[in-house]
Subunit: 387 residues, 4 copies
């Protein structure tokens, strides 16, 4: 089998040529002053992309590393933690929090819904023992998002720290750690930044550092340690371990491009792509997976697979016949996803995903008129371009 013509899945996103060139640029020693400067500049760029004044930690390893590292750093055994579980990743975080010793509280919804901020406020008011709240901003597997702009201040005003999974939102959806009062934000470069997948981008607030430093269970002298990076690299100028030079260059290049475009412009582009995608889905007589457009993510559109068909069959068909790689729901349900992240949130890309899904469904016996979906998506793009 040859490589797909188009990858419209939910990350790793197809990196731009410029990012790929950076990934393939010469590897120098991480002790070299040129690299150390490059690393520091990359941290600064990531901070700009986050739009935060918080300290940036770059760990080498997919964002799941950063999430585990942050959870381990924050959770003091016995600590009461509220976990918001509106999707696969939120649910998974709950297992971790418990395993790391938390007294786990959870607000749960169907994976087609988002968490109601009012419910969070009420729960926290009833449970003043809670010290930490964990939330996933964009629940990629089901294409929904939680309203962190509301949840952050609710937590902060009650003295509760927040741990936010922004992996699939950074760069593609509105996110403002400082204004939203979010304490630890963890993202990855392989989604809306369309960078390599091997780094965790972590922004940590001063109150979060205080909690981490006071936590005897926080990892130290470990690959999982945020503190090592703070103390050894930021404190003494020594990397706790060799970062991947290639990945750092790749992340820097991805940030450069996002910053050159402008974070706001990038987000607007993702939102347009998502609207086009959803318009196409509706015009084909299909349904998006999220319960409403209001909670649909800007970086990925999850589409319910019509009854009688399995998502795997649809995706395999689209891949084999039309060379388009789409994503499944990673356990969230019988759905297929069109990612619009980074370069694939540009121009006609969403319509390529619609063509692949629509025609695959038609091939598999579902009477879908793909042309109507494309027409509707193009109408959204046309209107957006005029603005």
């Amino acid at each position: 089998m040859r490589e797909p013509d188009f990858t419209l899945s939910a990350g790793p996103s197809p990196a731009s040529a410029r990012t790929l060139a950076a990934l393939g640029s010469p590897i120098i020693d991480d002790h070299d002053p040129v690299f150390r400067d490059a690393f520091r500049r990359t941290e600064a760029k990531v901070g700009q992309v986050f739009g935060t004044e918080n300290e940036i930690i770059l760990m080498q390893g997919e964002a799941i590393l950063g999430l585990e590292a942050a959870a381990r750093a924050l959770v003091r055994p016995g600590m009461h933690v509220l976990n918001l579980a509106s999707g696969v990743f939120g649910k998974g975080m709950g297992y971790w929090l418990k395993a790391f010793g938390a007294q786990l509280h959870e607000i749960e919804t169907s994976y087609a819904e988002a968490i109601d901020p009012a419910a969070v406020a009420a729960y926290l008011d009833e449970h003043p023992e809670i010290e930490l709240l964990s939330v996933v901003h964009c629940e990629t597997p089901s294409g929904t998002f939680n309203d962190c702009a509301a949840i952050g201040p609710i937590a902060r005003s009650r003295g509760v720290l927040t741990l936010v999974d922004c992996v699939a939102s950074l760069g593609g959806m509105a996110l403002d750690p400082d204004a939203w009062q979010l304490d630890v934000c963890v993202a990855g470069p392989q989604k809306c930044l369309a960078g390599p997948s091997g780094m965790s981008l972590v922004a940590v607030s001063a109150p979060a550092w205080a909690a981490i430093e006071g936590n005897p269970a926080a990892p130290r002298a470990s690959f999982l340690s945020l503190l090592d990076w703070r103390e050894q690299w930021h404190g003494r100028g020594q990397f706790p371990y060799t970062p991947s030079v290639s990945e750092v260059y790749g992340v820097a290049a991805a940030c450069d491009q996002l910053l050159a475009e402008g974070v706001r412009a990038s987000i607007a582009r993702h939102e347009t792509a998502a609207r086009a995608c959803r318009a196409g889905v509706a015009a084909m007589g299909l349904q998006i997976w999220p319960a409403s457009e209001a909670i649909a993510a800007a970086s990925v559109t999850a589409i319910a697979v019509p009854d009688g068909l399995d998502h795997q069959a649809v995706r395999d068909h689209a891949r084999a016949r039309y060379g388009v790689m789409l994503a499944d729901g990673q356990g969230a349900g019988n759905l297929v996803r069109i990612g619009h992240m980074g370069p694939t949130a540009s121009g006609l890309n969403p319509a390529i995903g619609l063509m692949a899904i629509g025609r695959s469904l038609a091939d598999l016996g579902v009477p879908v008129r793909t042309g109507d979906g494309v027409e509707a998506a193009l109408a959204v793009l046309a209107a957006a371009a005029r603005d």
Copy 2:
């Protein structure tokens, strides 16, 4: 400051153009069948480079991740472990073993020496409670190596598992996990393979798996978990987390080149480079750091800095004036190192390192005749080429 003309440090080594191209090749989704095949083929290649039948686990993160993961997986709290500490990395492993709950035994030497296998045998005979032995094959910081060919069978014959740090030897020094009866070997691609630094290459024997599976403290559901990779990826075909597509391609390309050359030929090339380097050092009136040539590594030559000078001054001078990046001893002593790893173990590269060090010393007031060193190194290369 611009990038160095030549990087002759002790890793990350300068990757070949072909490896860089692989690192910069398009990023596809890790769920795509094309990538999954590529990942499996990469595992097989790593196995060939190791020359082992043992199961290969590729973790995303510098080799320090693999070492921590392996140590955590193997160490059952209260287990008696013998650690061989002949250098910075060996010493560091001891701290970890203890932190992970081991009853630590240690045989220690000066960092210019290697561990005597006879002492290991004697120690194990006196301490039948020991279940695990940890050893660093090549102690990069001080340029020495331990005789794993002897130590492995000593341990196996006494029912002791071995955890071997081969980070700086794989591909550049003789290593035979199966014949040498080594249980867990951890290497990195960024040294003699001249690949990217973001992966841990781990080879695990059946007895080691048995011990790990029986260890309740072995990490599970964690970035540090060898078991996750075994059970989820090898067992169910699911990656426990997104690997870095770029790094995997880079590692595969590095292995391809090494296998095309032949592992034996590569090792011979490293050995020649090391001999040339040592001949040059001697001819310049300098001294290698290891107590004898017999324990000097083939992948890196550590050179004692003459009294009255600090290694930092020498290295800074070589970098600033002559554009050559050399390595320090990472705490092992007042030494500078010339790496000959991968491409830099080829041809005249070692002589470039000699020129940089020799002339820098001369500039700093040490009466060294660089020309004599170069002449001696070239004589070794000339003789080797005739063979």
Copy 3:
């Protein structure tokens, strides 16, 4: 303005990542034995792509160089030459032939038509003084092609040499220089091979060489000389001038990919793309530029722009609003072209071109239903995939 999301013009085609990596691979000296071997292997590959036993000459410079070189080499002042002019490039060749001293005969048609082979036979029978016939296989600007399978034998049987411009057909349309008895075929790598644009790929038959060697006006000691390459490179192993190492590597990589796919499979893929494209055009109520499907090229589809609109406005709109780069007719008429060459002849690419044109026309006030075009194109692709 940023780069287009999709380039669907008529060449240079977007090169694959593998071809780009080859273009960016290290530059070695052209005198190095490694490069000389690579050059020879590239010649052999080009011969395989052509499917010919004729001698291959690779000149450094866009195919226009090869065409000029071939025409200058073949035309003896005063020689009678029949030029077939069914498009912009055919017409242009006539000016050259005359300028180089030919007694020019011409069969001309509208640029929406192809030359009738019967007319060629008749003309040659009436004009036995003609020694050379010049024909363009694929007239890219107007999207038509001439039936070289018929014309070649007609010429050969009458002792007339043929000079064939295959620039836009090689690799994407049926072409068989030996069976079709074509004497000098000139192609470029930047069309259906999706290679770099800086080389001329020339295949020369033995009778053609005899004529060239006997032509005192054939260039010698010139950048335009085919004879220099034959005598100096093939004869004495010396390049007449430094080839571009990068371009040679790029051409080799492009050939490798085409040969791995298979020339026939590649052609079939181009033909399917063209059929899908034409079906879409018709379903949108538009018209292809060629007078009939029978003479429509497989590598590019020319589409008549509806009355009242200028092609430039349509193309500028598609480029600015939808990020799709389309081609004009280079003077052939008021038309826009969708190229399907190399990678863009794969999968859903033609439908992207249809979306860009359809929606642009709609935006500009032409009542086109793009969805119908996409639907029709997908139906062709779906049917083809089932075969």
Copy 4:
């Protein structure tokens, strides 16, 4: 055979990673506004590198194309032309001038000498019928240069146009077309710019254009035509033929790097490399080929091969045994050349060439002490670094 470890020949020079990345960047259509802007910016950069206000023409093809194009454009049949022949390229230009119809005058020297400007002045005074003078700035094959700073004004003051081959001097040797009153300068990117070899960089003065436009023999409608580029591209915004997108990007990147360093700094770097090289040659008891250091080029050092040995044997040995690619004299004599062009004019590179030649000679029986040569070269570099 594998690729050389070091290419220290006389061009194509090893391009930097950044230039290679540019060569491997995505190919877009040459009609795209983004490319057209890039082309114009590249012309401007080339003008800055030349340091001239003259019009820049970029032709696609190795510099030999630009030289042929310029000579054909300038030579009116019957025109009296003075050719300065102090090397292989100068001599070759004479054949061309004659072939293009010139009444050829020639001042010739041994290929170890340069032309005396006073002799040029005297010759021109005696031959007022001469309208054009042709000179090679750096005679790469023999490592000498002609004093164009003196020759230019001598010609201009006598109303004689100049055609200057700067292929191997641009960017590495002092060159000032405007102050030196040079009319047509032709260079290539593959020497001191370390770019790709497939472009001709031509700077044309107003008086030269006047002569060309008035020359009925100047090529038009040809790959060899400077006028096409002026009239079609600069006049009407249309490329006369498709430029190689890859090469243009490569040239732009090479210029960017040279301009970032500064042309003067680059020249100083080349001069230091040349001095180090010559010092090494002398210290090894060898002789440079040029009759004196005063006429030795800064971009390449030609070294006489000791009696009894042939340059081919020395070069083959250096290449096979030590992985170093050196250059021959292209017919200028029994010599080997170390190129120091672009990146290879940096740092310890010249000493690598000395090691390869010295040790190869020793292996072949010539009693050369390479160490002395390296020592002497390093002394020059050390002194230069202190300045």
